[in-house]
């Protein structure tokens, strides 16, 4: 199953750091996100794009994770050579991630 079936996402930027939220549509799916989508998994998934550490923050009350990806925006929003300098499209890539459900 793709993450997109159970979660939605929005991406923000600050300098060279991208933050990608992963929000469960249904509260009951949050535990699965929390169990499966670790910071290491996200770092590996974006290995071609994210050159720094990934920190995961948990928002249990609303059933959401916030991934903060350091060194991801090509040296910073102003000087990045990428077309999408803000990395605004990254969240949609995260939602393509396959997860195994028992």
């Amino acid at each position: 199953m793709k993450l997109k079936e159970i979660a939605h996402s929005r991406t923000g930027d600050k300098g060279e750091i991208s933050n990608i939220s992963l929000i469960a549509y249904k509260k009951e799916d949050y535990a699965l996100l929390k169990e499966k989508i670790t910071s290491n998994k996200v770092k590996e998934y974006f290995s071609e794009i994210c050159k720094g550490e990934v920190t995961r923050y948990e928002l249990d009350e609303i059933g959401a994770l916030n991934f903060v990806l350091d060194k991801t925006l090509g040296g910073g929003v102003t000087r990045s050579l990428a077309l999408d300098k803000h990395g605004k499209s990254l969240g949609m890539a995260l939602l393509e991630m396959e997860i195994e459900v028992d």
Binding site: K4, H8, S9, R10, G12, D13, K14, G15, E16, I17, N19, S21, I23, Y25, T55, Y57, L59, D60, E61, I62, A64, N66, V68, G74, G75, G76, V77, T78, R79, L81, A82, L83
Partner: protein
């Protein structure tokens, strides 16, 4: 309990005006904020100001004020905006001029200065720059601007003194909302931790305008948004308890759900327990959203952990140049020709001795060359076109121009059938930051009156 209604009329420098007008006419507002200052805007404004001392504020200020000012008195609304950018005084002077032209009478315009600390930079010469790790003095020759992110104190003072329009330069985005709330309810970060947390959250949810009412949200088949072209902008209804409801004008486009609110709350924050703003270190970790009705979400349980001891200063500097060029290849084998083209450009840049700090190439494409019918090749291949984009960062303009020119030269010197070249060379202004003691920055409020 008295309820204050604050609307958001802009989420970025060039945002639309109709949703703001709709809010002012139909939103029964007490305040409307216009957040118009991206990170680099002040540095670019500073450059304009150097050329023309009456410029350097938001380029949409005249356009917006012409629409806003006639609506203030009839609807009893106060305006709070950071459209002053690098020249707050000139923005206020221009606003006064427009009010006079329109015959709008009896309004008080306040402008807040103090964020521009560029004259004091020698004092911080040894400070370490957050992004680069260099000492500030090593960058001195390239610095264009230095502005502290101020809190809400100037805005609150202006409102206490009866201002109808408050224009600032660099303040934190949520401060535009917090300033009104502190004026109305007298909240204090040290005594009212929960209420100030809610105030920061209200500001944070409003500051990007349409992004909480269904903008930046729609995904056909997954997340539907009605009438996205008529997107309404948000307002909060907040009382002295700090709890608030987020809503929009009835009949406007867009959607407000707990999901749009969740996406926007996490947008551009890192640690949800410590969202740093000059007015309070907010904690959104326990926030609760409740759908109260159609396009109405109740927001509660934010808190805060005091004020930060330091303020962030955003420093604009002339950083580098970027040169880029694009060219399209179509038909079978287009990717191979695009790759050959890239290989040629890379070797040419090497051959002519162009000096690049960084190099990148992208392969883009869907149906721009052959429209739809011919964009699926008879062999079933859907990649019927590739747009090659080559870009590079350089220290000077000449080297950046070589990248753009070598892509253009592919027309006659590259693989077969290349078309649609565009090229661009741009000087890049970047921003970096230092942190300074709070006491080093003082807001001063000035007033202009339209009799």
């Amino acid at each position: 309990m008295r309820t204050i209604r604050i609307g958001s009329g802009a989420g970025y420098a060039g945002d639309r005006i109709e949703p703001a007008v709709e809010l002012m006419e139909k939103g029964n507002l007490n305040y409307i904020i216009f957040e118009c200052l991206a990170e680099r805007t002040i540095a670019l404004g500073q450059k304009e100001k150097l050329k023309d001392a009456t410029k350097g504020y938001n380029s949409f200020l005249e356009y917006r004020m012409n629409h806003i000012l006639p609506l203030l008195k009839d609807n009893n609304i106060k305006v709070i905006t950071n459209m002053g950018a690098a020249n707050v005084k000139a923005a206020a002077d221009k606003t006064l001029e427009i009010a006079n032209q329109l015959g709008v009478k009896g309004i008080k315009i306040a402008y807040v200065t103090g964020d521009d600390i560029s004259d004091n930079l020698d004092f911080y010469a040894d400070y370490k720059v957050l992004e680069t790790g260099y000492q500030l003095k090593e960058m001195k020759a390239n610095i264009m601007s230095a502005n502290a992110y101020m809190g809400c104190e100037g805005i609150t003072e202006a409102l206490k003194n009866g201002a109808d329009v408050v224009i600032t330069g660099r303040v934190s985005d949520p401060a535009l909302v917090i300033g009104a709330l502190v004026y109305e309810f007298g909240w204090d970060a040290d005594k009212d931790a929960d209420k100030m947390g809610q105030a920061v959250l209200a500001g944070h949810l409003l500051e990007c305008a349409g992004q909480v009412t269904g903008g930046y949200y729609a995904d056909p088949g997954y997340k539907e948004v009605p009438n996205l072209d008529r997107l309404g902008y948000p307002l909060v209804e907040i009382d002295a308890s700090g709890a608030f409801v987020l809503s929009k004008v009835e009949g406007s486009g867009g959607i407000i759900t707990t999901d749009t609110c969740k996406e926007q709350m996490i947008y551009e924050i890192h640690n949800p327990k410590a969202y740093l703003t000059p007015d309070a270190i907010a904690d959104f970790s326990k926030v609760k959203f409740t759908q109260e009705g159609n396009d109405r979400v109740r927001v509660e349980n934010a808190t805060s952990h005091g004020k930060p001891k330091e303020l962030k200063v955003s420093i604009g500097y002339e950083d580098c140049y970027i040169g880029e060029g694009e060219i399209s290849y179509g038909g079978a084998n287009c990717l191979s020709r695009a790759r050959l083209a890239e290989d040629v450009v890379r070797k040419r840049l090497n051959l002519i001795g162009a000096k690049l700090e960084e190099y990148r190439c992208d392969y883009i494409g869907y149906n721009s060359l052959y429209r739809d019918k011919l964009s699926t090749l008879p062999n079933g291949e859907t990649n019927s076109e590739i747009r090659l984009r080559i870009s590079g960062r350089t220290k000077d303009e000449w080297n950046a121009a070589q990248i753009a020119n070598e892509v253009e030269a592919l027309y006659t010197n590259g693989p077969a059938g290349g078309g649609g070249v565009v090229k661009r060379v741009e000087q890049i202004v970047s921003v970096c930051s230092i942190f300074v003691a709070r006491k080093d920055v003082t807001a001063t409020v000035h007033y202009l009156e339209v009799e």
